[in-house]
Every structure is written in structure tokens, then in C-alpha cells.
């Protein structure tokens, strides 16, 4: 989808990604709920755009509050964020872990349709309400339920373990494992530069050695260990999606905005099995669509935020996006191309493995990260954006490559 008019994102905000790894996190104590995270993120964005009075519509991306928190109807939380949002249109959208990306798509469409000049887009998930073993049941809802019975206890780690196993066959197990360990290292090193990241305080010295731990099929999956997985996270992210008029209304200058220049939104049949476990075909389609609509090639990207719910998903993502040829994703990572100082820094604040994965918030979090990088607001995690490659890409995936939202952003000049 090529935007038919100028469209921007501004005023991003991420809460801390809360969960194991953060000092503040104590599973035995009562913790903040949905309300806390929605308020923190929503109010922070409103504070940067001149208040709720400037907002026309609200949208919340969320996957499974209905089970994690026994709470539906999240659209109606918007007026709780700020009474100035009372009686304004607001809705909740869901597409598993791509719910945040769908919130962005929904907001972009509202602005393009002319129904809104300013949309407050949020994403949220509060998942530490249950132990991981029950959380696995809930997250399995991103797959087709009739397959749950034969699936792994940790359903999605099981799915991506199968993908990893197939990839080991294709490129060699040792190389693939090493690339996954490198992925983990990059993720943690980047997270250490971002104070809201779940792994911000990770002090492990030899990250790659740690990540090379042999997977244990008895307690977990055949081909993945826990370091290959994103963690269980609570958190919310918010960003405003605006037209040129909206930008003026909010009193935000162009240099503090990032432009949305291309969108790819694709789904595939949730009841069907992947044709090839080593290829993420829906990501490939959506990323290509986003870049095509933006009129750019993959070589023009300065940075990418990709959906590494598992290290293997990150590596397969490099191939699907077209950064690496098929079967060469592991080499691409091992050669250091995706590292902070590499050819194209990927997941510069840690991604899902390092920053965290509050599922319904992730798509919005990715956009906030790109916005920070493109406007010089990324603090210690800031990378330089080359003038000849002023583009960033987000890839947000729901389920096992079933719903994908890819967005191309451009640094404003």
C-alpha cells in the first residue's frame, strides 16, 4: 500500500519491557496491570502532541488480554488514558503478535481515508499474570486450535524449533547454532544500550558461549534453548500517526517526525502448514510489498526492526526480507552485517530477544524504535543514518508467518 498522501509518525514512547531480567520484577508480588501500562504510554505520547484534544481517533493493538487478564473491550480504555478522549472513536485490533502492526495499519488507513488527522496508536500486552507453561497455552491461540493437541507443550517454541531443525539440515547445524548465538549476543548488547529493555541489566560476559547451550528436548524443545527465545513481557508502546495537517495541529516540527512511505500487510491461511519450514513466505511478501510501494530496494535501508520472537525467526527474516540470499542468513549474521557496527544494524535496541516481546505491543515498539533512530532520539543506542540510505523497515509477524505488517519509514529532511 503506497500512501496516497504525506503521513508521519511522531511522539513515540515505550514503557519498560517488564519481566524476568528486570530488577523491579518480582513474580510473587502484585504487579501493575493493563491500566498502568496504557496510561504510562498513552499519556507520554499525548504529552508530546499537545494533549488529547488534538487526537481524532484511538486504536489499541492487543493479542490476548481476554485470557492473560480476563479483559476484553480494550478500545474503551482510551478515555481512561485521558478524559479528553471521551466519545472519540477507538477500537482494539488483533492479529496475534502482529496486533501492534495492525494498530499502525488501522491508524494509517484512518489518516489516509481522511477520517482522522491524528490517531493515537497503542499496543499492549501484560503476560506475566500466568506462569510460562500456561502462557504457552494462551499464545498458542496464534496458531490453529485443532493443531494444539499434537503441538509441543511450549507450542510456538515447538513450531520454531521445527523450523530451526529444518534450517540445520539445510545449512549445517553448527553454523546455524553459531549464527543463532551471534543473534543473541547482538540482541543483548543492543538491549544494554536501552534503559527500557528487559535485558538492559544483563551482565553475562560471554554471551555467545551461553547461547550455545545444547537444547534439552526433555524439558524444552529439540532445537532451541531458552536463549533462542524472546522472554515473557509486560509493556505498552504508543505513537501518533498524523497527516501534514495533523503534524501542524500537534505543533511538532518535521525533524521530530518520521515519514511512512510504504506499507505491506499480508496474511496466509492459518489452517495450512508452511510449505517450506526454512522460508518465511508471508514476511517475504509483505516486506517486498512495503519496499515496492515505497519505491526503494533493500539496499537503501539503513536499519531494520525484525520480528525475532526466536533467534531462528530473526535469521530466516534476513533471508525473507532479501538482505541475505536464501540459505545465507546464518552467514550474513555471522559475518557481522546485522551487528551495531555492521552493514545494516538490525534490532538496534535488542529486538524481541533483547528488548522484550509484550506481544500485542511489539509492532508499535518497533515503529517507536525506528522513529527514535530517524529523529536522533535513541540515546546510547543511536546509530548513524547514512544520507544515501535514509530508510528504515519494520517487520511484525503474527503466528507462524500468518499475519505480517511491514512498514518502510523515511527520515525527514
Amino acid at each position: 500500500m503506497k500512501p496516497s498522501k504525506k503521513i508521519y509518525m511522531i511522539a513515540g514512547y515505550n514503557t519498560i519491557s517488564m519481566g524476568t531480567g528486570r530488577k523491579e520484577f518480582n513474580p510473587k508480588k502484585e504487579r501493575p496491570g493493563l491500566e498502568h501500562y496504557l496510561k504510562e504510554a498513552g499519556q507520554a505520547t499525548l504529552g508530546q502532541i499537545g494533549g488529547a484534544g488534538n487526537v481524532d481517533e484511538g486504536v489499541v493493538g492487543n493479542f490476548m488480554a481476554s485470557r492473560f487478564n480476563k479483559q476484553g473491550h480494550l478500545g474503551a480504555f482510551m478515555p481512561m488514558v485521558d478524559p479528553g478522549l471521551r466519545h472519540k472513536p477507538s477500537l482494539r485490533v488483533e492479529g496475534a503478535c502482529a496486533s501492534g502492526g495492525l494498530a499502525l495499519v488501522s491508524g494509517i488507513k484512518s489518516v489516509l481515508s481522511g477520517s482522522a488527522e491524528v490517531v493515537l496508536a497503542m499496543g499492549i500486552e501484560v503476560q506475566n499474570t500466568v506462569k510460562a507453561i500456561y502462557g504457552a497455552d494462551i499464545l498458542a491461540g496464534a496458531g490453529w486450535f485443532p493443531r494444539r493437541k499434537d503441538g509441543h507443550a511450549y507450542f510456538f517454541p515447538g513450531q520454531f524449533s521445527d523450523r530451526a531443525g529444518a534450517y540445520y539440515e539445510k545449512v549445517g547445524r553448527e553454523k546455524a547454532r553459531k549464527a543463532m548465538a551471534k543473534w543473541y549476543r547482538n540482541a543483548i548488547e543492543n538491549a544494554r544500550l536501552c534503559p527500557t529493555a528487559q535485558e538492559f541489566e544483563n551482565k553475562i560476559v560471554d554471551l555467545e558461549a551461553q547461547a550455545m547451550m545444547e537444547p534439552n528436548p526433555k524439558s524444552f524443545t529439540d532445537h532451541l534453548n531458552v536463549f533462542d527465545c524472546s522472554k515473557v513481557s509486560d509493556g505498552a508502546s504508543a505513537i501518533a500517526i498524523v497527516s501534514e495537517e495533523g503534524l501542524k495541529r500537534c505543533g511538532v516540527s518535521l525533524k521530530d517526525a518520521v515519514e511512512v512511505v510504504g506499507v505491506g500487510h499480508a496474511t496466509d491461511d492459518i489452517t495450512a502448514l508452511p510449505e517450506d519450514l526454512t522460508r518465511l513466505t508471508t514476511i517475504a511478501f509483505a516486506a517486498k510489498e512495503a519496499m515496492k510501494s515505497a519505491g526503494i530496494t533493500v539496499d537503501q535501508l539503513a536499519t531494520v526492526e525484525t520480528h525475532d520472537c526466536f533467534s531462528i525467526a530473526g535469521i530466516l527474516g534476513m533471508e525473507a526480507i532479501g538482505l541475505a540470499p536464501e540459505g545465507k542468513g546464518a552467514d550474513f549474521v555471522l559475518e557481522g552485517n546485522t551487528s551495531r557496527d555492521g552493514k545494516i544494524p538490525v534490532n538496534t535496541t535488542g529486538g524481541l530477544v533483547g528488548w522484550g516481546h509484550p506481544t500485542g505491543a511489539t509492532g508499535v515498539h518497533q515503529a517507536v524504535t525506528i522513529w527514535e533512530q530517524m529523529t536522533g532520539k535513541a540515546g546510547a543506542a543511536q546509530i548513524s543514518i547514512p544520507a544515501d540510505r535514509p530508510y528504515g523497515l519494520t517487520v511484525n509477524m503474527g503466528g507462524d508467518d500468518r499475519t505480517v505488517v511491514a512498514i518502510v519509514f523515511k527520515k525527514t529532511t
Binding site: I133, Y134, F145, R148, H152, A153, K218, S219, F220
Partner: protein
Amino acid sequence: MDYTERLSNVTVLGAAGKMGSGILLLSALEVADLMLKPENKGKNFVINAVDVTTEALPGLINYIRGQVLKAAEKKVVMLRKVYADRQDLIENYDIIEAYINDVMSLIRPGTRIEAAYESTLVFEAVSENASLKTKLFRQINENNPRKPWIFTNTSSVPIGGLDKDAGLEGRILGFHFYNPPAVQKLVELITIGTNPEGMKEFAMQLAKNMRKVVVPSNDIAGFIGNGHFMRDAIYAIEEATRLSAEMPLHEAIYVMNRISQDYLMRPMGIFQLIDYVGVDVVRFILNVMNPHMPDENLHSQVLDELFEKGVKGGQFSDGSQKDGFLKYEKGKPVAVYSPEKNGYISIEGFAAKVDGWLGVLPTTAIPWKSLVKASDKDNVAALAFADYKKSGDTGAALALAYARRSREIGAKLVSDGVAHSAADVNTVLLTGFFHAYGPVNDFVL
């Protein structure tokens, strides 16, 4: 009778107690594993949970349910395979629930000993009273045509005597868990010459399936664990009594507790350990052991006095510590019992003075928590002892003497034929008492 059949009808005597409830849990998990094997479909399995305290049984069932839940959550990967053919069980939650129900369906709580009359295996964890044990065993043996095997959890009573007194013809062995049985890795196994064929092998297999470390001990009162602990405790009490010539007894108790914890780098001080086990229980075990030790006097006047004054230690039903030698707040000692004052005296009031008297604790004496995480614990511990030897401070001297006595006790358990080797003694202290290094170590010399 094969392994499965032997476990088809189990009774746990004293099931509501601290040890009994843990043994019930481990047995239930093991029997459930058997019951859920496809080849055992249709076979009947029963575990009788027998205890005289009716009031304790509902709490026991809740405890077991909670523990089975925890166990199930840890092994869902395996359980999903076990229940693969149950199409109605889809989510982990469903499978965990089904497993809990299956385990709980095995357990028949009750107060009547008659439940054991059909059992093939009896775990005994009643109080440490030889005549009570004998009476129960005799009654079961006379009424049970299946000639059950009896696994007693006694920590001190000689097995051979129980066998003879109850007329069991060798169908008894010591299967001594450590507290709490669900957590502590150690089982002390005490066999006797008259055990029937296959009994020891069955016990070894069972312990292995329960993921326990087995240390064989000879049938001498107190075995290895209490053989060491009781003598260690008596030494500490005697040292405190000796020091009470220089300071009030409660301060001396504080000194020896601190020496045994901070200087010896153990998980808790010796007086805290006595309180944990129970002043009354320690006294009882000593009374059981003493008649079997003609060359020693395993008796403590101080323990008698405390016991008579009703100071017993042990735990409340929620697991929190009752006051004994020490008084506890949130699990930490805050005061010491003074027999003269018949009350507790706050540690804060005298700690600085007594610590000054002890001298400087070398920095090489790291907390037990850090020491257990070290990869070369013996070498790290040795550094502290090297510093004690160089130091002229009173604390260091007391620590060396304490460690040497502890070593001597361990070595004597080997020379007396209680333990087969010094390594076995060390394993018992490492796995049953959570020490970071074994007592029989040359670096303390």
C-alpha cells in the same frame, strides 16, 4: 513380585508429618508414573496415607495437591506424551489438571492402621520411638498375608533390633530421607543381613526413580547423618558451656552458632540447625542412640533443661521456625535463650562486644550462599582455613577446633564401621545437610 507389583499397594505411616508428607508425595509421583504406563492400564494402584491426627489430613491433601501441581508444571513436555491419546485434553492446563486428579485418586487418607493390611510396601515415618514402631510393625505383619516390605525412615533406631522385636524375618530396611524429603537429595540406606533377596535392589531402583543419591550406612544407631550431627551438636553445646566461664551462656551460644555458620561457611549455625530439627527431636534421637554407644555419653544437660522449660523449636505448620535456642523474626535469629533469665536476650545488645572478642573474620570466609556456587568449593573453603591458621584471633582458633572436631567425628564414623568411606560421610553432609564441603577434609588440619 516385580517392581510394579511391589508398588501396587503402598501405605505411608505418619503421612501427615513433616517427613511422612514428603515421602507420601514422592511415592505418589512414582506410583503415578507406573500407573500411567500403557502396559499398566487397568491395574489397580493404591497409596494409603495413614496418620493418627485426623485434623492434619485435609491440610495434607492440600499440601500434596500443591506439590503435585508444581511437579506437573515442570514436566508438561513429558506429560503431553503420556496423555497423547486423551483427545479431550488439549491445553497444558487440561493435562496438568488430569495428572493431578490421577495422582490424587491414588491416595486414600485415613487414620486406621488396618489400611496397611493389604499393602505390599509400607513406609514408616512415625515418631522416633522404637517401641511404637515395633508395635505397629508387629500388628501389620501379623494381619497382612502379603508379607509386606517395611521401609522405615528412622534416623537413629537400629534396624536389626526392630526386625527382631517385631518378628519381621528380615523384611525391613532403613530408607532414611532428609528434611524436606521432596527437596533433599539424600537417602541413607540401611540394609541388614537377613533382608530377603531383591529387597536392596528394589530399594536402590526406587531411590533412583525418586532421583535420590543413595549412601549406604551400616546398622549402627544414628547411622551416618545423625552420627555426625548429634556429635557435632554436643560438641557445640560443650564448647558453649566451657566458654560460659568467660561470658554468659547465651553469649557463648551466639559465639558457637556464629562460628559454625560464618566461619565454617555452613548454611546455618549449629544452634539454628538444632532448632530447625527441634530441640525435643534432637534430645529424643540422643536418647535413642546413647544406649548403643558404651564408650560415649551422647547426652546433654542443657537440652534437658530447655526441653523441661518447654523450649522445643521445630516448625509451625506453615513451615516458619519456632523459637528454640534462638528466637526468630522472619526466619532470622534475633535473640538467644538465656537459661538464667528464662527468656530471650536480644542479639543486637551484645553482638558488637562478642564479635569484637572473636576478632576479624577473614575476607576469604565467604558466605555459604557464595561458596556453594563456586566450582571448586574445597579449594575456596581451604583459603579461609589457611587464614584461620595464620590468624591469632579467638574466632579463628574456635573455628579450627570446630572443624577439626567435625573431621574427627566423620573419620570415626568410618573407623567404627558406620560408613564405608570418608567419601560417603562427605556425601551425606553435602546432600543431606547442604554443606558446601565435606567434614573429612585435610585442609582443616
